[in-house]
């Protein structure tokens, strides 16, 4: 197993870090997936999940089953964030956390690394991406950081195409965070978080006083900006960041408020086709539990459920997609990753390395710890 040395520790500085990452990727391209540990059985079929995990300065992408057991582990050169999944071809891409300078393609069956996305100079990943329905294109949210412009990098995902970067689409905003593909297969929905950042300054927001978030729809074929909806002016510091689709194809979005804690804006919203953005608040006690910050959103489309996690507030809030009502909340300290188990419950990961199942009608059940000292990163994805 090759584990590229992480360069964020000690004396390394951001400029070094970026170059060290490139160097690590160049010299350690095929980092092998860790084989299954003794006693682990490969659990084929549904019910597998992906998440990034950190152990101090060591980082990895983890394929796990619904009981929380590691199925395969892929070492990463730096902290990972989220994934694009191509179920048909059983492969996925893990993106580096923003400012991310790596994205690795790997085999969903065994975690074996297949390729590295060719990120051009002057761009970094924001941590999210999505495949086209046919799996022949990969779309990644990226930062054109010298221009302060959000773009979607378009990569050729056809077999043998070597992941060539075909070009990029303007997202119509700054800081595109998550992108999803609408059920029509032709429309990308992009959460332009509105936060101007530059990799020299990590994740520091450089335009807090003037930021403006939007939800943009782009034609996935040519990048044409179809619609770009912004939040009301008084909510200019509300950043739309994460997205989930319900059974009717509506996009649910989760926000993080960049303004003062004394303000309590709504954090959950919905965009239905052809309609303006709708925003929903939980009852005051639950709204407070969310602490102006939702780290992840996931849907159980069949049961009409949405899960929104707040690691800052240590709670998961549950919503109904039928009437947009908040159904309650469940405490989960530093809980952030959420993914549907398909039966009204969700798998929830936390920053202490813990996994639990929980739902609006189910008390949390903590899964036996499979790791010691690790920290699950923000997102859990169903494969």
């Amino acid at each position: 197993m090759v584990r590229p040395r992480n360069s964020t520790a000690g004396a390394a500085l951001p400029c070094t870090r970026r170059e060290a990452l490139r160097a690590a990727l160049a010299t350690a391209v095929i980092a092998g997936a860790r084989p299954l540990r003794a006693g682990m059985q490969p659990a084929d079929g549904p019910g597998r999940f992906l998440s990034a995990r950190s152990h101090g300065t060591a980082h990895e992408a983890v394929l796990l089953d619904a009981t929380g057991r590691d199925v395969a582990v892929l070492p990463l050169p730096d902290r990972g964030h989220s994934f694009a999944i191509d179920r048909a071809r059983q492969r996925a891409v893990v993106f580096g956390r923003q400012p991310g300078f790596f994205a690795l393609v790997f085999d969903l069956r065994d975690g074996r690394q297949l390729a590295t996305l060719p990120l051009p100079e002057g761009r970094h990943f924001f941590g999210h991406g999505v495949f086209s329905l046919a799996g022949d294109r990969l779309y990644a949210t990226e930062n054109d950081f010298e221009a302060g412009r959000g773009v979607i990098g378009v990569y050729d995902a056809r077999p043998g195409a070597n992941w060539q970067r075909l070009g990029e689409f303007d997202t119509g905003g700054i800081g595109p965070h998550e992108v999803v593909l609408l059920p029509d297969g032709n429309t990308l929905c992009v959460a332009n978080g509105g936060l101007l950042t530059h990799p020299d300054y990590g994740k520091a927001t450089l335009n807090l006083a003037t930021m403006r978030s939007s939800l943009a729809l782009l034609d996935a074929r040519d990048g044409r900006l179809l619609v770009n909806r912004t939040l009301p002016p008084e909510l200019f510091q509300l950043s739309i960041r994460h997205l989930a689709l319900d059974a009717g194809g509506a996009v649910w979005f989760a926000c993080q408020h960049q303004g003062p804690a004394s303000e309590r804006p709504p954090l959950v919203g919905r965009q239905r086709s052809g309609m303006e953005l709708e925003l929903f608040s939980a009852p005051p006690a639950i709204q407070r539990e969310l602490r102006n910050y939702i780290g992840s959103i996931a849907a159980d489309p069949q049961r009409g459920l949405i899960a929104t996690s707040s690691p800052v507030g240590g709670h998961i809030a549950w919503w109904s997609t039928y009437d947009a009502r908040c159904l309650g909340s469940t405490p989960r300290p530093d809980g952030c990753g959420v993914a549907s188990l398909g039966d009204g419950r969700f798998l929830v990961s936390d920053g202490f390395g813990g996994l639990a199942t929980a739902g609006p009608a189910d008390r949390p059940q903590v899964l036996p710890a499979t790791t010691q000292g690790g920290a699950w990163d923000n997102h859990l994805r169903t494969t």
Partner: protein, 373 residues
């Protein structure tokens, strides 16, 4: 996350007794912190926050007067010197206030209005030059200036007006451009007085933030128990250490002397960088001391207190002993060592806060909560 017996034990409890999870985990930081940290908010407010914001008010007022005198007779060297001295006082007191990234400082974008930085794309310079070229006196009315971009109304903008583009000579010459430049500087000075006053007022009655911070209670909106106050204070400490290293030092240091960029340092135009960064390390030590966390630490964690103070003092020493102005030091093989050293110490200090101090005090800063995305 070694040295976290309380947190580990609690997580184990949650694992074996899921039924208790609701009550136990929801209140974990508070239960831990309540025992040793009652009165934390009052201590920090009285011993740190209010003295610092009061100093900022006094120093901005003195700067405003000095600017007024200077613009009346811009050729007088003594008046110019007075402005520079008062400017330095404001920078030092700002270092003490800047770390309070909660409450009044982050309301209405006061932090950005007072100190728009970092600015990697040169927004301040571009906008300021454009306003100087237009020379519209109406823009400098207090109500109008505060409506302008945050980039042109704070301390970095004032520094630019006083030091860049041959500013001193232009102002001393007393021609139209110099006069406008000086009146602009005066207007920014007045704006800083206004901002300092608002920040200070926000930490006094009848501000709800000040009251809740000093007296957390279940009926409050923001701070309901001592644990929430402790979390706010430790988060501010951690964030300030992160900003000090990752934003203020690291980008300018680059990977070596050849790739260093001194112009990325805060307040390099006025030559105040080292003084400013040193003042910030002093402020961090005082802020931490005001919390009296040492008295709440269990005996086996007492070392954290001494280590953290020691790291912050060594940072101060690095800045005070800098052989060259900081923007030149970063590009000098020998002199930059002190700054590289300070950057390392700041990393260590932050690790002490996040990985040892907070858990030892029962405060859960959280992997995802502290640095989400």
């Amino acid at each position: 996350m070694s040295g976290v017996p309380a947190g580990r034990a609690l997580r184990w409890l949650c694992a074996v007794l899921p039924a208790l999870l609701l009550a136990a985990c929801a209140s974990s930081p508070a239960t831990q912190a309540d025992t040793g940290m009652e009165g934390l908010g009052t201590r920090v407010l009285q011993q740190y926050i209010r003295p610092q914001t009061a100093a900022l008010v006094r120093n901005t007022q003195a700067l405003e007067i000095a600017l007024h005198d200077y613009c009346a007779q811009p050729a007088q060297a003594a008046r110019r010197s007075a402005v520079e001295a008062r400017f330095a006082d404001v920078a030092v007191s700002w270092a003490g206030v800047e770390l309070l990234r909660f409450g009044p400082l982050v309301e209405q974008n006061r932090l950005e209005q007072f100190f728009f930085w970092p600015d990697p794309r040169g927004v301040m310079q571009r906008q300021l030059r454009s306003l100087l070229a237009a020379a519209d006196p109406a823009v400098l009315q207090p109500a109008r200036l505060r409506e302008q971009s945050v980039a042109v109304q704070g301390l970095p903008a004032l520094e630019y007006l006083l030091h860049a583009d041959d500013g001193p000579a232009q102002i001393a010459a007393g021609e139209a451009a110099g006069r406008y430049r000086c009146v602009f500087a005066e207007a920014v000075g007045t704006n800083l007085v206004r901002l300092a006053g608002e920040i200070d007022a926000g930490w006094h009655a009848p501000s709800p933030v000040a009251a809740e911070f000093a007296r957390p209670a279940p009926v409050n909106d923001l701070y309901r128990d001592a644990g929430e106050v402790a979390t706010e204070v430790l988060k501010a400490l951690s964030t300030a250490l992160h900003v000090a290293r990752d934003q203020k030092l690291a980008p300018a240091l680059g990977e070596d002397a050849a790739s260093a960029r001194g112009s990325l340092l805060p307040l390099y135009r006025s030559g105040l960088t080292a003084q400013f960064l040193g003042a910030q390390a002093v402020a961090l030590e005082r802020f931490y001391a005001a919390g009296s966390f040492a008295t709440s630490l269990p005996a086996d964690s007492a070392w954290i207190d001494a280590s953290l103070r020691d790291e912050l003092r060594r940072v101060q020493q690095d800045f005070s002993e800098l052989a060259l102005p900081a923007d030149r030091a970063v590009a000098d093989e020998e002199a930059r060592n002190a700054l590289v050293h300070a950057a390392l110490l700041l990393v260590n200090a932050r690790a002490l806060v996040d990985e040892y101090l907070a858990p030892a005090l029962g405060v859960n800063l959280g992997f995802n909560a502290l640095d989400g995305d």
